[in-house]
């Protein structure tokens, strides 16, 4: 039985599509972002209710049960995940969406006699599988279940080419025969292609690839809409595909990278693979008391927070230190690199969580000229975003990425856990400069020691 006639069904789907457009527009401005997200959720709710009321569905108790399972699994994870782990969760959710699209296409093969519909099925299967497997690898990299450095082996381009050729052949065969077995083979080839695509991507570039795979999943959903003759899926999927493409390019531009450089850069030469070797050059390490004296008698201090600060949950201590210094009449700012953390805008989220006052957070363009006037730049758990190699070393994987110019400050203090290179896997020459000193240890502990020492000055 269906309670809604086709006209009402179409109108409700249209309303949902409009809500999705409003959601994306809202999400691109800080003032309306939260409302935009809620509008999107409302659109999704309308669409799901509509499908139940308009289609002749069997197995309804099973469907409701599966929706309950999906909700019970995802909602608590989404609610409880640490802010530092947000990027890998976004990758995971994107991947399962791609997987769902591929499975839907696989099941529709039975009903598809038209070659154009079969072409859409082949596209959805392949792109959905690439997105699922690729997102799985990005998750593993961000969660540090595997190395975050580019993984390149001899013959990788040849293997990739072979997989893609086999996928095209299998795709053509599926279009001609409609064979389910070949479709499953295509699915497997898509999974392999997804893994091979993301393995060579280096740590700092992983978030951009998540955005790219997000756009892929959008396209897979749009193609599955063609398969099912459902306009809402076509519109929503295309919207995400297009906006995701723009977003991917904007994120790449923020890091001074090209998208093709990110995907295929590791094929071109060994230098992008980064180094694991720790240099033998001497560094100047200092004590918390030394750092406190340096800070306590400065006039201007700029704190540069990085992912290491967030992981150590040291945001609150950093905020307290800033307050203690300000109480001594010292001018303190936080310098936020656009890709500090694991993703563009991630550090703003993390510091906002720690209630660091908004007006102390300075964007890169604003703060860079001010490093010259700073007595001390205090780098807490950041490395790649202050590495001068981005400006000077053309072979470096982060070459071209805009950086925070802490080298201009009179003194630079790094709070670091160890000499291990940062996320991008490259050494920072700034660590060996004469104006630089290092305080080793967990970011939160070190900050607490420095804070204690400042208070006794």
């Amino acid at each position: 039985m269906s309670l809604l006639n086709p006209v009402w069904t179409s109108l409700l789907y249209l309303a949902a599509a409009v809500f999705f457009i409003l959601a994306l527009r809202g999400l691109s401005s800080p003032r309306t972002a939260r409302r935009g997200n809620l509008i999107g959720a409302l659109g999704a709710l309308i669409a799901v209710v509509t499908v139940f009321l308009s289609s002749r569905l069997e197995n309804i108790p099973w469907i409701l049960g599966a929706i309950a399972v999906g909700t019970v699994v995802a909602a608590p994870v989404a609610r409880r995940v640490k802010m530092t782990q947000m990027p890998q969760l976004v990758a995971l959710f994107n991947g399962v969406g791609g997987g769902a699209a591929a499975l839907v296409a696989l099941l529709e093969l039975n009903h598809a006699d038209d070659p154009w519909v079969r072409l859409a099925i082949v596209f959805t299967l392949l792109v959905g599988a690439v997105s699922f497997a690729g997102s799985g690898v990005t998750f593993a990299k961000l969660q540090e279940l595997m190395t975050t450095r580019p993984v390149v082996f001899r013959g990788l381009p040849a293997v990739m080419a072979a997989v893609l050729l086999a996928a095209v052949a299998a795709g053509v065969a599926v279009i001609m025969t409609g064979s389910a077995a070949l479709a499953v083979l295509l699915l497997v080839l898509g999974l392999a292609a997804g893994v091979l695509l993301v393995l060579p991507v280096g740590g700092a570039d992983v978030p951009i690839v998540i955005s790219l795979l997000n756009a892929f999943t959008g396209l897979a959903v749009a193609a599955s809409g063609v398969v099912l003759g459902n306009v809402l899926l076509v519109v929503a999927g295309t919207l995400v595909g297009a906006s995701g493409t723009i977003l991917t390019r904007a994120m790449a531009a923020a890091m001074g990278r090209s998208v093709s450089g990110i995907l295929f850069g590791a094929f071109r030469g060994g230098s992008t693979a980064g180094s694991t070797a720790v240099s033998e050059r001497p560094v100047r390490s200092s004590s918390a008391e030394d750092v406190a004296v340096l800070l306590g008698y400065a006039q201007r201090v700029i704190i540069v927070p990085g992912y290491g600060l967030a992981v150590a949950q040291g945001q609150h201590t950093a905020a307290e230190l800033a307050q203690a210094l300000e109480a001594r009449g010292i001018d303190v700012d936080f310098a936020i690199h656009p890709v500090a953390g694991r993703m563009p805008g991630h550090m703003n989220v993390l510091l906002a969580e720690a209630n660091v006052p908004y007006e102390s957070l300075k964007e890169m363009g604003e703060i860079n000229p001010e490093f010259k006037t700073a007595d001390v730049a205090l780098v807490v758990g950041a490395n790649d975003v202050v590495n001068p190699a981005a400006k000077t070393s053309s072979g470096s994987p982060i070459y071209g990425m805009p950086i925070l110019e802490v080298a201009d400050a009179r003194q630079v203090v790094f709070l670091k856990r160890s000499m291990r290179p940062g996320f991008a896997g490259i050494e920072n020459d700034l660590l060996y400069e004469p104006q630089t000193s290092l305080l080793f240890g967990d970011a939160k502990d070190s900050l607490a020691q420095v804070l204690g020492a400042v208070k006794t000055l």
Binding site: L24, A44, S55, A78, R79, A100, V221, V231, L247, P338
Partner: protein, 111 residues
Amino acid sequence: MDGMSLLTITVLAVFVGFEVVSKVSSTLHTPLMSGANAIHGIILVGAIIVTGQATDPWMLAVALLAVVLATANLVGGFVVTDRMLHMFHARKQVAGKEAGTKAMPGEVDGR
């Protein structure tokens, strides 16, 4: 729906997609990515349709898996985006307090 109408809708949607996010600040890249991610979870509608047509047990099992995955994408995506954006809200409110001014009315909801 005929192929030409679908193509028209697709092309128009591409342009709308390009337009709506053409000028996004880097601060919002992560929430926007996450929000767009949630929207493609609407594949749930497709997963429900194929499950509703499934006849043999194997197809039903695969279709139900698709429903679970799509629901996780949809629900998880919106929840995680909302949490991220909530942080931006909290920041503005704190900033208002620090400056000794009252928070704007729109900024105190949801607390």
